[in-house]
Amino acid sequence: MFANFLIGLREGLEAALVVGILVAYLRRTDRQHLLRSLWAGVAAAVGVSLLFGAILTYGPRGLSFKAQETIGGVLSLLAVGVVTWMVFWMAKTARFMKAELEDRMDAAVAVGTFSVFLLAALAVGREGLETALFLWAAAQATGSSTSPLLGAVIGLALAVAIGWALTQTAVRFSLATFFRRSGVLLVIIAAGVLSYGIHDLQEAGILPGLNSIAFDLSSTIRPGTWLATLLKGTFNFSPVTTTLEVFAWLSYIVPTMVLFLRCSKLPSNTSRTVNRQAANA
């Protein structure tokens, strides 16, 4: 039961963190009306994943390995795109807030219901199919033992609880701290998702270099332990990482992080100018 619990936690954690940050963001910027689109996105991803997983599990057709890895890889790359967009959208909001232009902010950083829907759907749906297949397999085992399904569900529930706790904590930070910390966290998460997507596409044979290993820490960070689960679940850290994954991870995280830290910081002279303009307006 414990091993299945760890799988559930690992599969659910990253999505719960992204959704948790998004919920906190919408609340803190008074956009509660978009929460409806957010939950619709989550529900759509869960629904489609469970349905598709059930068809593959109980129906006569299975999904080829290559097709499953390709779906996982492509959805991961799309998720990196929308999470990165979310990070800079948040940075832009932070700039407006710091410049005390809240009244103008709405027009400048207006965001559509569909964007929020898509963001939530991809954050959850990215690994949704694999999680659904795992859950249905655990459900099938229920004839002989209920512990696999119970473990998996408790693991997912803990992931959701951690996401919820993050939202609650985020509400307590000052706005500037909230934007900066959640942005940094999202950039690190997105870099991990990119690396994961690259690995899926390498396994599918679409990208080369599956056996060109950059490092193997599996004897130190042993899969099946709490540490490996949390690192994998949060940052998609894999103890065995290919050279291409490391390359993609670094190529993404370095420029994105630098750009984010610059964007979220308002230069002091610009700040004064903007404030003066605001006062004149």
């Binding site: 091993a3 760890l6 799988i7 299975g62 999904l63 390995f65 569909f114 694999e130 795992f134 099946g224």
Partner: protein, 126 residues
């Protein structure tokens, strides 16, 4: 506005579902008519019910009878190229991996503990 949001959500869901289904039907393998091979993976063994299969579809029904999470792989003769793989087989769980390998020699591997080269054996098709 509210209705608009709902419509958008609905369209998005249908589009996502359609995309996923399209991916399914074009590349899926039917387990009907497949040679079904039972695999039992424990923490230190990997029992494959048969080591040969006629050409065509093969379905490996992998049951984890151990205490660690296991994975099952079908590799090419080089022992590196992945022909098929199924991960996240928790203790007490069974998952099926389908593949349509060409005639030739392959290698099966169970990976209890999700690490290492796994417990390997030869497998031939055709």
């Amino acid at each position: 506005m509210r209705r608009n949001g709902r419509t958008v959500a609905l369209v998005g869901t249908v589009a996502l579902a359609a995309a996923v289904m399209a991916g399914c039907s074009s590349k899926s393998d039917s387990t009907e008519g497949a040679t079904i091979i039972d695999v039992v993976s424990t923490d230190d063994s990997c029992t494959v019910s048969q080591t040969t299969a006629p050409g065509g579809k093969v379905a490996f029904a992998v049951r984890n009878a151990g205490t660690k999470v296991t994975e099952f792989y079908l590799y090419g003769a080089d022992g590196k190229t992945i022909i098929g793989e199924v991960e996240n087989i928790g203790p007490g769980v069974s998952r099926t991996m389908t593949a349509t390998p060409d005639a030739g020699t392959y290698i099966t591997a169970c990976k209890p503990g999700e690490t290492g080269d796994g417990i390997r054996a030869e497998f031939s098709v055709g």
